[in-house]
């Protein structure tokens, strides 16, 4: 059963670098993440050979000065608007049957950065998000792409991130991110794309 689920799971193992243009605990900030990943499908004999590149551009708005009851009760630190670009042209799919059948993906998601643990230097965040994704190539452009049937899809992302303040200007961050997009069977086929990525990075604060 689990293997059948993993059958559809594209696992990206990526190392990401993060640059924060401005960050403080109670200020808005912009961040960008560059992803260099690899696809893993358990049934695929050639594991970890499909390199994926992606980039996230996020605007994070601080919620820590807000007094809304839901923000306090959920411990929301930031709300994030994220634009993601994923290049999937090197994905080969299950047993390489979908080689050259995937397109580029443009994604917009809205997320909440929820502080689960930590108050001082170390924090554990849960970051759920929802949005839309546009895939440039579908099953109806290339019949080998049995995963996506429509250009427009909904997108879900769920991320856990641990941050540790190394110094007053330097922040170490590591986490796991799950992303999914599909169209809710609006048009078939609709297996969807699932990805899981591990990330590690450093953030540097340019301003005081």
């Amino acid at each position: 059963m689990r293997w059948k689920f993993l059958f559809f799971l594209l696992l990206f193992i990526s190392v990401k670098s993060t640059i924060l243009f401005a960050q403080s605990t109670k200020r808005d900030f912009i961040s960008t993440e560059l992803g260099f990943g690899s696809m893993l499908i358990p049934e695929n004999p050639k594991l970890l050979n499909d390199f994926i590149s992606s980039i996230d551009l996020s605007y994070a708005r601080s919620m820590q000065n807000k007094n809304d009851e839901w923000i306090k009760k959920l411990h929301v630190s930031y709300q994030l608007a994220t634009l993601t670009y994923m290049n999937q042209k090197d994905l080969d799919g299950m047993l390489d049957t979908s080689a050259n059948a995937f397109g580029d993906v443009y994604m917009f998601t809205y997320s909440l950065m929820i502080n689960i643990l930590g108050k001082q230097k170390n924090h554990l965040y849960l970051i759920p998000g929802w949005g839309v994704a546009y895939d440039t190539k579908t099953f109806y452009e290339d019949y080998k792409n049995i995963y996506i049937g429509s250009h427009f899809n909904y997108a879900i992302r769920l991320e856990s991130m641990f941050t540790s303040e190394i110094s007053s200007k330097l922040l170490l961050m590591t986490g796991i991110k799950y992303m999914h997009y599909s169209n809710g069977s609006f048009i078939l086929p609709n297996r969807g794309i699932n990805s899981v990525s591990y990330k590690i990075g450093l953030a540097y604060q340019f301003t005081k």
Binding site: W70, L74, G184, P189
Partner: protein, 181 residues
């Protein structure tokens, strides 16, 4: 017969809850009606799907809510034995227009935007035989999940959407209105 029993139960159960509302200011009953589009297999054509839900919503505080109630699922095309026809909906194929399920879930209210999610167990759903489902899809179809958002237009009226899925296979996306009694 089964449908009559369920409808009777529904009317009695929610009638009692509605009558008790004067002393239960913390909670309410909500009726939701929605429609969605479910594609035919390997075709851009689709059939209409829908759901009517009647839930008792228990307020834990101003942010967290628990809800439970009856879901009435609707299929515009029922399966007639033709796997190339519009009634074939993979694991969600139904031999009848209606199926009934008991839902349990929760809500998180973020001012006017409310996140909703939960799972429902089928009470009555005439689907493919279990042996065929396990052989073809690797699992039975006893329950489904719903996850989505709704927006409070007024204090009592809301509009929203949710994704209904059988395990990891999406069934359809439902768009509809809800009214809080």
């Amino acid at each position: 017969m089964m449908r009559t029993i369920l409808l009777t139960y529904l009317l009695v159960f929610f009638g009692l809850i509605c009558s008790a509302q004067s002393s239960l200011n913390r909670s309410h009953v909500e009726l939701n009606l929605g429609l969605g589009r479910r594609a035919f297999v390997n075709s851009k054509e689709a059939q209409l799907r829908g759901m009517a839900s009647l839930n008792y919503v228990y307020k834990i505080n101003n942010v967290f809510y628990l809800k439970s109630g009856l879901d009435v699922n609707y299929w515009d095309h029922k399966f007639d034995g033709n796997f190339s026809g519009p009634g074939y909906q993979l694991i969600a194929t139904s031999y009848e227009h209606f199926a009934y399920a008991w839902f349990f879930g929760g809500e998180i209210a973020m001012n006017r935007v409310i996140f909703q999610g939960g799972a429902a167990s089928y009470l009555y759903f005439k689907h493919f035989p279990d042996d065929y489902l396990i052989q073809t899809f690797g699992r039975k179809v006893n329950y489904y999940t719903k996850i989505g958002f709704k927006y409070l237009i007024t204090k009592n009226l809301n509009a929203g959407f949710f994704l209904k899925a059988h395990s990891y296979e999406a069934d359809y996306m439902d768009f509809g209105l809800g009214y809080k009694f």
